[in-house]
Amino acid sequence: MTGFIVRRLGQAVVVTLGVTAITFLLLHLLPGSLAREIIGNRATAQEIAAFNHQWGLNSPLWYQYWKFLVELLHGNLGYSFSKNRTTDSLLASELPRDLLLGGLSLVLSLIIAVPVGIAQAVKRNGLVDYAGTGVSFFLYSMPQFSVALLLVQLLAITYHVFPAIVPQNESAIYLLTHPRPIVLPVLSLALVSYAAFSRFMRSSAIDTLAQDYMRTARAKGLPERLVLWRHLVRNSLLAVVTLVGLSIPTILTGTLIIEAVFNYPGAGLEYYNATLSNDYQVMLGITVLVGMVTVVGNLLADIGYALLDPRIRY
């Protein structure tokens, strides 16, 4: 077990380094220079040289990458020249709102998807199963932003139930206590995840139903209700750990899209705006952060699953 965790940690470090190296390299391959971008076209050669010297841009690439890694280890994600702030301070105000959006929608989608997926598996090929499959197929086959689109059309434009605009300068706590504006973003993101989650839960529960211990439980005369609760549900919940860990990249991309649709103030919107204003430093910082969160998510999912399932031995 310890060996497995050590090996898996090593892999995670390698992958994280790879992600940082690739994003760093890509950014430095971009045409044009940072100095020209920041201090403008009319800057003199001396001014450019001074800028490059000040920010260490004339040192060799490997050295710049090294500096970047060292800064990263100290928790510094870079500096936004267009906003004149560090990326960390930029994100510090955004991340709580991201956690709110991502967390609420994750919980909501799990609350719906897990029971529905298990019910579909139990009543396989019944009416519930077909209806559930139909709904998740429909949601699964839409571009992520159009789920939000339909909700806005229905609940914001046609019937004015919820607003489609999120206040820009409120804290996560304020949004949590005044949730009306965040209902549509949370619901949209939850529905997108729901489609994949319920399909996953259904097939995982079908696998569990075919296990020998299910037959044993029935054979020893355990009432069907207890068979389902004690054996099916508990074992299917194991799959949720893997599911959540592996769907982190999808959730993060979904967050970016939903934030762009609703102008929801978060890291996704920050990233989107950075792409529009060519703020490469912010793009680099957020990309590396997303990559690291993805790697850590996969790592935790693997280790969590190994810890929870006693059949897995390494």
């Binding site: 992958v15 790879g18 391959l29 086959s141 839409m142 571009p143 159009s146 991309t253 899209i257 990309t287």
Partner: protein, 301 residues
């Protein structure tokens, strides 16, 4: 054993012939029994015909904006209305369907083939090569897709070909993982060892024995990859990193139309969305059915 007198002259003596069937026939039969699969195939055939043959019968000008006919509701000379540049929506859906389907199909096939060869090599040789190659897959999966697109669209002018290459670049990792997993079990089979004993080279084993045996995974993966790339294309168009307006596709129509949703120009949004959903659902149906068919082959073997 006495044969019963045959009632039906069409039936051969000894009763009806039950075909033992080849694996392929079994797969096709299971596939054809799946109603959703048939629906999927019919939809795909219809959509392809509509997009590629439609413009032959329904001529529209999709190059010169017609500013005297912008945002017209459905009816009259344009059955689905016009968009904000005066382009006929019905004609544009055909035109857009062509590039959408081309992108989807090309990305589906290219990414699967690349992933297939990569995964087979990684799984077959194993050891350190496998470890190194799989870390590249992990890295590829951890770099956010959108980032790569924004980067490339800053350097190169977006075109159909470049978009296909980029989408393939971010989607070969999943097929690679699947094929690698299968190769790990295939390479220990007796027939692979037999080839090796007979002096077959590694390349021969991989291309003649391992890859043909992953055909099930490959066919299923291609259909899902096609569906996914159509969706990714739409999302990229929405975020503003896709094909230029001269190359309409369902994604760009959908995201352009979104701007006017508040004005009630529903015809600029829902036809394009409908075609995306319909096509993606159809490919997913086919993929699901193929998966079941290949599972049946494995069960009855």
């Amino acid at each position: 054993m006495e044969s019963a007198p045959s009632q039906d002259p069409a039936l051969p003596e000894g009763g009806e012939v039950v075909s033992t069937g080849s694996a392929w026939r079994l797969i096709l039969r299971t596939f054809a029994q799946n109603k959703l699969a048939i629906v999927g195939v019919v939809i795909v055939v219809l959509v392809v015909t509509f997009s590629f043959l439609g413009p032959v019968f329904y001529h529209t000008d999709q190059f010169n904006p017609n500013l005297s006919a912008v945002n017209l509701p459905p009816g009259g000379s344009s059955p689905l209305g016009t968009d904000q540049s005066g382009f006929d929506i019905l004609g544009r859906i055909m035109e857009g369907g062509r590039s959408t389907l081309e992108v989807g199909l090309a990305v589906g096939v290219i990414s699967t083939v690349v992933g297939l060869v990569y995964g087979a090599i990684s799984g077959f040789f194993g050891k350190w090569l496998d470890i190194v190659m799989m870390r590249f897959v992990d890295i590829g999966l951890a770099v956010p897709v959108v980032f790569l697109f924004i980067f490339m669209s800053r350097i190169y002018k977006p075109s159909l070909g470049l978009l296909i290459v980029l989408l393939a670049l971010v989607s070969w990792q999943i097929p690679a993982r699947l094929v690698r997993g299968e190769t790990l079990s295939l390479r220990t089979r007796e027939y692979v060892q037999a080839v090796r004993v007979m002096g077959g080279k590694s390349s021969r084993i991989i291309f003649r024995h391992i890859i043909p045996n992953t055909i099930g995974t490959i066919v299923v993966t291609v259909t899902f990859q096609i569906a996914n790339s159509i969706l990714t294309l739409a999302v990229l168009q929405f975020l503003g990193f896709g094909l230029p307006p001269t190359q309409p596709n369902w994604g760009s129509m959908l995201s352009d139309g979104t701007t006017f949703l508040q004005d009630g120009f529903w015809w600029q949004v829902y036809p394009a969305l409908g075609f995306i959903v319909l096509t993606v659902v159809a490919f997913n149906f086919i993929g699901d059915a193929l998966q079941d068919s290949f599972d049946v082959r494995l069960q009855e073997r």
